[in-house]
Symmetry: D2
Subunit: 370 residues, 4 copies
Amino acid sequence: MENKSNDIYGRSRVKNTDELDKYYSDLQSMDTGALWTVANDIEPWEPHTISAPMFWDYEKLRPYVLEAARLVTPGEAGRRVVYLQNKNRIKEKAAVGWLYAGVQITQPGEFTPAHRHVAAALRFIMEGSKGYTIVDGNKIDLEARDFVITPNGVWHEHGVAKDGETCIWMDGLDIPLANALEANDYGVLAEETGGQEEVVPRNYSPNRYSEAGVIPMDKKWDKPYSPMFRYPWKTTQKALQNMAKVSEPCEFDGYLMRYSNPLTGGHPMQTMGASMQMLPPKMHTKAHKHTGSFMFQVAMGKGAVIINGKRYDFKEKDMFCIPSWLYHEFVNTSETEELYLFNFNDLPTIEKLDYYQEKEHPEGHQKITS
Amino acid sequence: MENKSNDIYGRSRVKNTDELDKYYSDLQSMDTGALWTVANDIEPWEPHTISAPMFWDYEKLRPYVLEAARLVTPGEAGRRVVYLQNKNRIKEKAAVGWLYAGVQITQPGEFTPAHRHVAAALRFIMEGSKGYTIVDGNKIDLEARDFVITPNGVWHEHGVAKDGETCIWMDGLDIPLANALEANDYGVLAEETGGQEEVVPRNYSPNRYSEAGVIPMDKKWDKPYSPMFRYPWKTTQKALQNMAKVSEPCEFDGYLMRYSNPLTGGHPMQTMGASMQMLPPKMHTKAHKHTGSFMFQVAMGKGAVIINGKRYDFKEKDMFCIPSWLYHEFVNTSETEELYLFNFNDLPTIEKLDYYQEKEHPEGHQKITS
Amino acid sequence: MENKSNDIYGRSRVKNTDELDKYYSDLQSMDTGALWTVANDIEPWEPHTISAPMFWDYEKLRPYVLEAARLVTPGEAGRRVVYLQNKNRIKEKAAVGWLYAGVQITQPGEFTPAHRHVAAALRFIMEGSKGYTIVDGNKIDLEARDFVITPNGVWHEHGVAKDGETCIWMDGLDIPLANALEANDYGVLAEETGGQEEVVPRNYSPNRYSEAGVIPMDKKWDKPYSPMFRYPWKTTQKALQNMAKVSEPCEFDGYLMRYSNPLTGGHPMQTMGASMQMLPPKMHTKAHKHTGSFMFQVAMGKGAVIINGKRYDFKEKDMFCIPSWLYHEFVNTSETEELYLFNFNDLPTIEKLDYYQEKEHPEGHQKITS
Amino acid sequence: MENKSNDIYGRSRVKNTDELDKYYSDLQSMDTGALWTVANDIEPWEPHTISAPMFWDYEKLRPYVLEAARLVTPGEAGRRVVYLQNKNRIKEKAAVGWLYAGVQITQPGEFTPAHRHVAAALRFIMEGSKGYTIVDGNKIDLEARDFVITPNGVWHEHGVAKDGETCIWMDGLDIPLANALEANDYGVLAEETGGQEEVVPRNYSPNRYSEAGVIPMDKKWDKPYSPMFRYPWKTTQKALQNMAKVSEPCEFDGYLMRYSNPLTGGHPMQTMGASMQMLPPKMHTKAHKHTGSFMFQVAMGKGAVIINGKRYDFKEKDMFCIPSWLYHEFVNTSETEELYLFNFNDLPTIEKLDYYQEKEHPEGHQKITS
């Protein structure tokens, strides 16, 4: 369907004339236009992405992230973050589609001001120790490869204990989406010294939702997001390995698990989702494409991704994006080790709006063109 | 909150230095940036709209719509539509926010090619007689002020009977949204002569969902949109008048009713909603603002709308838009007649993403500034 | 499956012995038993109903209903109701399954005390004029063949205006179900003179939900039952006639419409549902059976029902029940007039518990055996 | 409210007369009755339970369970189960309310015939080793104190490996409810040797849903019950202990967790639920009552329950029931060990029908009367 001609019945095929030019000019003066002059553009045969596939080499990026912590203070900057810029989404400050991604650094003893926004936020922990987040008055300890949510509109702040080690994590937000839909806002809790009051014991949320299939019955939860704020790496990895004991890998994604709200089975937040996938040693998946924008980080292992005919080789902590409706396939280049890929995405949005479509590559794999 | 300073703790307040400039330049070369250089922009204190309030005078526009039918054929143009162009959304071809609006003309004996798209479409009938739509094989007769849906992904086409009168209607689509989320597509059913086969008797849908509170039990409906494709003006007006017999008008909206899917109570389509509101004679509503983008048409009566401090006086069939988070209030300038305003909007999207907020004007009414 | 033998592997086939008898006796003394002695009974091959099909001739019943009004006062009796007693459900006071049905009389100027109960209640108006109900502070006028709900736990009372005519209606309640599930309760609002305060204008609910596909937006409704308390006969009949213009009748039920909550599309109340069906002149439906208990009243016309091989001829206002899993078929014996049958049922309960099954009669029609 | 008089306005207070007696007799002959003669009985002031509180001492019961295995074979008996008989629910074969409970024995090498029924079933493992269940083609290993489901209508069978030890478990079913609602049925898969084919690897379900908050994405699940068929004791206990680290115990239930469907957060099956609760050493809860029927087993520890003023001391594996709307409170009599109580219940049914109510004991604790 991609290359279908526009020169057929049902598509706009109007030829220009002087009379039409005059007509178009009149329309323009009234803040109007003729649909047939733009119809083929705004009604493409297939979904059309603006974003470019992009790859960020963490080894090159890391020194600059460290430098940020030297150059500015949390008090001046709010957060010390190097954000990832899709070269086709500069105005939107998006890493891919309507998703923002950044790499944040926090040094021992530092913390960010408490704030909130309509946009959803999440974190994937990359390095360091004794980092913590405070979400809605819940102080939660963070470890490498944990996935942590900061839902839409909820007060949050982060820091590292004085005796911890410098923490670096990937932030994901849908600020571009919330701005595009003209709904984003911002609030600061208190000035200078302030922050949230801790309203429950430390690690309250993780301790109440620690095992599959059992739900605490002492409190009602009426929020539209998950009460499980941290999804530990340890259990996520174990879940994937257990799944692999009894299931064949999916031909497009290997073993793929979605982070979920244990009270609904839905996505942890209203607008952004996240997944972890595992490719067994040597697996090379088949290519497909689907709607939705995806920002990846290599959680563990090494391999490659081929997006729209271009191959990107990666190692742990590298980051890349897969834009909507571009063919992609994954490779675990190790003969012995599992490959784990974390991603966050806009699937909750895409699914709620009934915009999800997918399509297998007709030949199974892409031809590598660059 | 609107005018809150950025010179406080929790906002980005980094002063430029040569060292930072060098740093920023390095970041840029790696497709990255420093969050603190853009944070205050992408995290506004309150929702921020790009769209301008706009007003389209139907009397001025109508001759150009008629002219379109003379200038191009359905076979060449697909549809003869003058679209409404928000002056701040030219690239997106949007009338407001991510909504497209156009005024379509069809002459007796003409019909459009059958087509479909992921974007949702709707129509509000303005003038003419013996118009019809065929949605998913259902041929439905249309009358003035009827509201008609063409849900996401469903085959549709329209026409006017040979013995009818030229029909003009407003089209509403969320093509800009479906494109922005990189999910839109397009299909043409058949070439030249073709169109959909009628799979059910004429006016099947309207006759099966003709009265409140009763649902046919002979067929299962498993689609994500309403089985009631046409919402007649006659019953809509009566419903509002009945409501007015027993209820006080809402101080912001008069009597406001939402078109709904009788099988779920939800919006008729997945991404776009529509409402009809009635202001009794002389009513002047209070001002408020909320998220969501709204495209209006004056269905009956005359009056004015004040948006963001500017007053627009209107008469029947005029069209205007209210962008997200701008204060607005309505006036029925008649001493004796009811005023009816139709609107379509992106509320299903805004609500599903949990982006809805509203705020009353602190002084009840806006000061008129232009 | 009905007549399947129990003498097969997988069914209990234990033969009695003296040793077993002794064992059974020991078990009994400990408030226990051996499953295999009862398994075939409590695990029947197919659903098994206890209720008998029953028929109540309104002509014979009516004088006794009138007599009730002479014999006792509302103050003494609460309500003057002749209840319908299934001969196999005497202890439960059920007309069929776990449903209670009664015929209530109210004379001009009389009213019942305001009360409420966990059990759901509904009414189908049979005769009289200027009757009213007050549900949750809503006073609503009733006309013949209207269907009216009194949801679970809501205050309600009924009466007839002083200048009205004696009203008779059928009451339906699931008191037996609420008692069986040990959940029913009862409350009286006030003594002697008292009743509910009217909190909204008369006929508030019917005027706000008067037309299909439009919903008032001025108030939030957060109750688990329908905000539309009365379903008028006039619109119900019209809806069925409209449906008949464009649809073939269902071979088992003719034209069947379910009363629904316009805000959800679900049943009007949590535990009981109701439907109206229309058989065109001369239609004789095919036989099927399904789970769920149904209490019918002939709303208009004449005909017959054949239940479990027995034929019952009926005329307007006669009442009958169809128990769970008995074959049944309907006949309109008129050559010219439509037949309308009202029923109420426990389908919301059956559906929520996932207990619905149905089965066509293998030969299309039953053999009449009595 | 319990002891409220019936001699008030709004209750039935009709005195008998000869004329009324004659009237009642006439009504009876027409399969009808006068509501006011039964109204106060069928509309109690508060929920009224029929079931008695009951206690079953496992030490006394166990020899009879073992004896069952000697007396009858699986081929003859289907299943060797000693069922628990509430003394007020003999006809219904219920342990409490509409719930059946039994204690089943299976010896090494034995297995039950594969069968299914509309009624839901569950198991709580009491003793033995190498027991297994096969649910819908999934063979799953069972260990002591695991909770296992056999959802409504699904094929199932159980057995013990040849090198295992005799297994004993509690069965819970809502056969009485499915029969009461005239919806139950029964099917046997195959004769003599037969059983289900294993359609997935052993322990497929437990390995795919092994950790909280992550869901496999390779298969769609469209069933109305949980895909997690086994809820292991090991993780359930750990979850309760984690919850206790950060939460105060509920004053009525200690630490209470509900088994849930990880895809929906709802109950694992459509009609029956189950919970595990933990009381810390020495805890004595406050008394309350609520609707719903509950069948308990002491999973670990010792203590007492006081139901309706009567105290029952218990040790591990003892079983008891708490009928609807009877006051109850729990005691952990150990100074050092945690007490774990497993229960299954009809809460999904009670909640779906909107029948849940609760009430605290006005004095905090019951007076012990026997």
